[in-house]
Every structure is written in C-alpha cells, then in structure tokens.
C-alpha cells in the first residue's frame, strides 16, 4: 500500500491504532486529587494569607490544570506534537501577559524619567484644550489637575474634547459614582 505519513513522519504499520487506554484507577485517582485540591483552594480562601493568596491559588490551579491536561486530555500518552502545540500556546500567553504587565508597570517610571508625560501635557496645552494624559498614580494626577486648574480656569469647557486616554475617564467615572452613591 501507499506510504503513510503521520505528522510529517513516514509510519510503518499505520493501520494499527496505538491509543493508550488508561485504567479506571487512574481516572479515579485524578478526580479524587482534583476534588481535594478544590477543597484546599476553597479552605485557603477563608484564611488571610495577604498577597500570598494569589500565588497559592494560582499554584493549585496550575496543578489541577496539569492533571486534567495530562490524564483527562491524554496529553501524557498522546503524540508529543500535541504537547508542543499546547505548551507553545502557553508560552505565547506568557509573552502576552509578561510584556503587557511590564509595559503597564514600567510606564510611570519611564514617563518620569523622560518627562514624556509633562511634555505631552505642555504640547496639548499649547493648543486648544487641556490634556491630562494617561497617569495611573492618583496623587500625581491630582497634582497635574490642580496645576492645570491654577493655570487657566477658563479651560473648563474644553474638558470633553481633551479626553485623552484613560486618566480622565477614570476620574470622571469615579466622581460620577461617588455622586450617584451619595
């Protein structure tokens, strides 16, 4: 018969199905472990672990996920190429998370260092409206707002069109909610 290829590799005896059939004991042990770990996360959530609680919860979740992937999804016994696809995805998720978080966390420091934020503000103020820019530090945002207030009260009307980035929206929303609540 014609040569048979599986995932790019020529295969001998391709008609044989080599599926691994796990014994019942494996499935029972895995579901038992999953229940125990769920109970553990649940119990831990009542204890006050502070910032460590996120780490603990994530570690437990990763163990649970690994059990499901390895035994229920048969990745432990499956074609290694499927494991490659799966782990490759996880790596890309890691890059996605890592770079975004790094950017958001280091943005303030960079703005301070290069005075990007201030320059941007000046540039915008030279034009028509008032730019508050994107600033995630409430104290500094308040300071900038006060500065702008002091420089020219007449600009109040230009607030809407100068809605630059998240900073202003956040303050607006906050104020709105405070107002609505009281």
């Amino acid at each position: 018969m014609a040569k048979v290829f599986l995932n790019g590799q020529p295969v001998e005896h391709a008609h044989e199905v080599h599926e691994h059939i796990s014994p019942m004991s494996t499935y029972n042990a895995v579901i038992g472990a999953l229940f125990v770990l769920t109970g553990l996360t649940f119990a831990v959530s009542f204890a006050d672990l502070g910032p460590a609680s996120l780490t603990v919860a994530m570690v437990v979740a990763f163990i649970k996920a690994s059990l499901v992937v390895a035994y229920f999804m048969h990745l432990k016994y499956d074609d290694k190429y499927h494991l490659f696809v799966f782990l490759g995805t996880i790596i890309f998720v890691g890059i996605f998370f890592g770079f975004t978080m790094f950017d958001l966390k280091s943005r303030d420091a960079l703005n301070d260092e290069q005075e990007t934020f201030v320059r941007w503000k000046e540039m915008e103020n030279a034009g028509k409206g008032l730019a508050v820019g994107v600033d995630n530090v409430p104290e500094r945002r308040a300071k900038v707002l006060a500065e702008i207030e002091a420089h020219g009260g007449g600009h109040g009307g230009g607030h809407g069109e100068a809605g630059h980035g998240g900073g202003e929206h956040k303050t607006d929303a906050k104020a709105e909610h405070k107002a609505a609540a009281h």
């Binding site: 995932n7 199905v17 999953l34 979740a61 996920a65 499901v68 992937v69 229920f72 190429y81």
Partner: protein, 227 residues
C-alpha cells in the same frame, strides 16, 4: 501506484472501514489529523480567553481594593458547587472516551448523559447567580446600578462586573455549545457510528469539554475566591 494500492494486504481492514474518508490512507492517519486540528483549535481558544484573563489581572493591579470589595458579592458557594459539578462532568466525559476505546457504546451513551446532566446543573446554578446580579444592578459598564439598590462599592465596580460577565459569559457560551455537541454525539452513538476503531469525534468532544473545565479551574479562584 494505484495497482499497489489495490493489492493492500488482507489484514489491513482499514481499507473497508466505512468511516475512513477517501483522502486518508488509514484510520490512524485520519484520527491524527482530526486530533491535531482539535488541538490547534484549542490553542486559539486559550489565546482568546487569555485576553480576558489579562484584563482581569490589569484591573486587579490598578484597583486591588475595588476588586476585593466587588468580589465579595460573588457567591463562593455557587462557584464552589459549579467547580465540583464541572470537574465531575470532565471525569464522566473522560470515562465516556474510555468506554468507546473499549468498544462499549452503551456505557459511552450513559457517560454522555451524565456529562450533559452535570453541564445542565452548571447552567442552572449560573442562571441563579446571574439573576441575583441582575436584581442587584451589578451589571457591566453603563448598565451598572447597584448604588441604586443600596450597594456601595468604591472604585470602578462597573468595570469589575464587565470583566466578570465577559469571562463567565464567554465560558457559559462554551458550556452551552459543549452541551449541544454532546447531544449530537449521543445521537450519533445511538446510530452506531462509533466503535473502538472510530471514536475521534468523541475524543475531540472530550478535549473541548476538558478545555471548558480547564478555563473554569482558573476562573473560579480568580473571580470568586482570591483575596
């Protein structure tokens, strides 16, 4: 070449398997292609959900107190029950795949029914959770009105509930689709389409269902439990 094909060895009963599509040489090859396709699909699913998880982490990073305060309004018990239900459904699904690996169609159908049952329980619990949130005005974005119902949550709770509804909602849609697929598999199994040599559709259904479970494993502690 075609001559060679015609003289395939007699023991190769794949040639006569009615489930073998003509563009595959063997059942093994057909199964491998289907499973690889499924894993690639699961990869896109993981990437899609990762965006929502990232949104959650960013919200949490900028507004830790608000997230902690808002999450107190989610029922730990409802989430916990749903976790157990979903894990159980994954277990029965895995046993369903095992049954058909051993050629037991009857047991496969039983396991599919049990899995569907668990999925339905999950959806019912979700329904009660959602209706409580709707009643209290804990809704996403501009629909948020909990402050009119006497709930004061500082910060940006409308964003938190936006993330909550997007994450659990997209997950819920996946559960609903999974239920429909399992029902379809139940019917196909009844027609005698599956046997120990042809069950990749069941296996792929299982992979999809386990992924839904996998996402919940992370959703549950992040949304309901974490302090």
């Amino acid at each position: 070449m075609s001559n060679e094909h015609a003289h395939a060895p007699a023991h190769d009963d794949d040639e006569h398997n009615p489930h073998l599509a003509h563009h595959f040489d063997t059942m093994g090859q057909q199964t491998a292609a289907a499973k690889l396709g499924m894993w690639l699909f699961l990869a896109t699913e993981i990437l899609m959900f990762s965006g929502l998880f990232l949104a959650y982490f960013i919200l949490r990073m900028f507004y830790p107190e608000m997230v902690l305060e808002a999450h107190e309004y989610l029922s730990k018990w409802a989430g916990g029950i749903n976790t157990v239900v979903l894990l159980t459904s994954s277990y029965t699904m895995a046993l369903g795949v095992r049954s058909i690996q051993l050629g037991d169609v009857k047991k496969l159908r039983l396991m599919l029914v049990l899995t569907i049952l668990c999925g339905c329980i999950f959806m019912v619990v979700k329904y009660f959770e959602y209706s409580a949130k709707f009643e209290h005005g804990m809704l996403p974005g501009k629909f948020y009105s909990a402050h009119l119902h006497g709930y004061e949550i500082d910060g940006l709770p409308h964003i938190f509930f936006g993330v909550y509804f997007m994450m659990t909602g997209l997950h819920g849609i996946h559960v609903a689709i999974g239920l429909a697929i399992m029902l379809w598999m139940f019917v196909r199994a009844g027609r005698g389409e599956f046997n120990a040599k042809n069950y990749v559709a069941i296996e792929n259904t299982g992979l999809y269902w386990h992924l839904v479970d996998l996402i919940w494993i992370f959703l549950f502690p992040l949304l309901y439990l974490v302090k």
